[in-house]
């Protein structure tokens, strides 16, 4: 199964749309599996990152009998130092974003902790792509 969702940058009222849709799809496919919660946390955080930092973005989801593969691709500023960005507590979010309770510097680590495979590719001035893989059965 293949799904795609666009993410509108800067619009916090729409954050969570893709993750909410994925939760519904996954519940129909596998029921109340603990993987559903993990995937949804990872995708939600990725959506927040695009809305908070990028100019536009896209979520691409592929589900087969073994795994769920989520790609989140954005056009944006990119991340100059990925290692630093992965550190819990490090954030470059704006004051406005922080006031809403986002920008705690936990997003990328929440994604990593809630996926089985996590890859990040980024180019400064061009954008960032995440690949999040979750296996339906323990590997």
């Amino acid at each position: 199964m293949h799904f795609e969702f666009d993410i509108e940058a800067g619009d916090f009222s729409k954050v969570g749309f893709a993750s909410s849709q994925l939760k519904k799809i996954m519940k129909q496919l596998v029921g109340a599996h603990k993987i559903v919660k993990r995937i949804v946390v990872a995708l939600y955080e990725a959506e927040v990152n695009v809305v908070a930092h990028a100019y536009s973005g896209k979520v691409i989801i592929d589900i087969d009998t073994e795994k769920v593969v989520i790609k989140v691709e954005d056009e944006g500023p990119g991340i100059p130092d990925v290692q630093l960005a992965m550190q819990e507590g490090y954030s470059t979010a704006s004051e406005k974003v922080r006031e809403m309770g986002f920008g705690a510097g936990m997003g990328l680590s929440n994604i990593k902790n809630n996926s089985d495979k996590f890859q990040i590719e980024t180019q400064v001035g061009i954008g960032t792509s995440l690949k999040i893989v979750s296996y339906l059965k323990a590997q």
Partner: protein, 110 residues
């Protein structure tokens, strides 16, 4: 314990999400950082916060939380109310501080 019991015992005001008043409560979580709640809250918990925008309900829904309590007389934004009703997750109001209402909830669930 159900959300309806909580409303009565802690004298909370139910403002939306009434269809969820029979939700069972497994515990509580206190934080105003959304990523913290996303990463660490557990299904069935009551979330105590001062954040009043609709992203609160998105997280409450994705994490299957039982209810949200807004502290210190804070009122939810209109779109938060709307999403609370759509998701069936009650939003409850109190004039008490986070410290006081958390203490009472903890005592009640112990």
């Amino acid at each position: 314990m159900k959300v309806s019991d909580l409303i009565e015992k802690l004298n909370l005001e139910l403002v939306s999400g009434e269809s969820g008043i029979d939700n069972q409560i497994s515990g509580g979580y206190v934080s105003d950082l959304l990523s913290d709640v996303m990463g660490s809250s557990k299904e069935g918990q009551v979330w105590i916060t001062l954040q009043t925008h609709k992203n609160v309900m998105a997280i409450a829904s994705l994490k299957d939380l039982a209810a949200v309590i807004l502290v210190k007389g804070f009122k939810p934004d209109e779109d938060m109310l709307q999403q609370s009703n759509e998701e069936g997750i009650p939003v409850l109001l109190t004039n008490e501080t986070t410290f006081d209402i958390s203490g009472k909830l903890h005592k009640l669930l112990k």
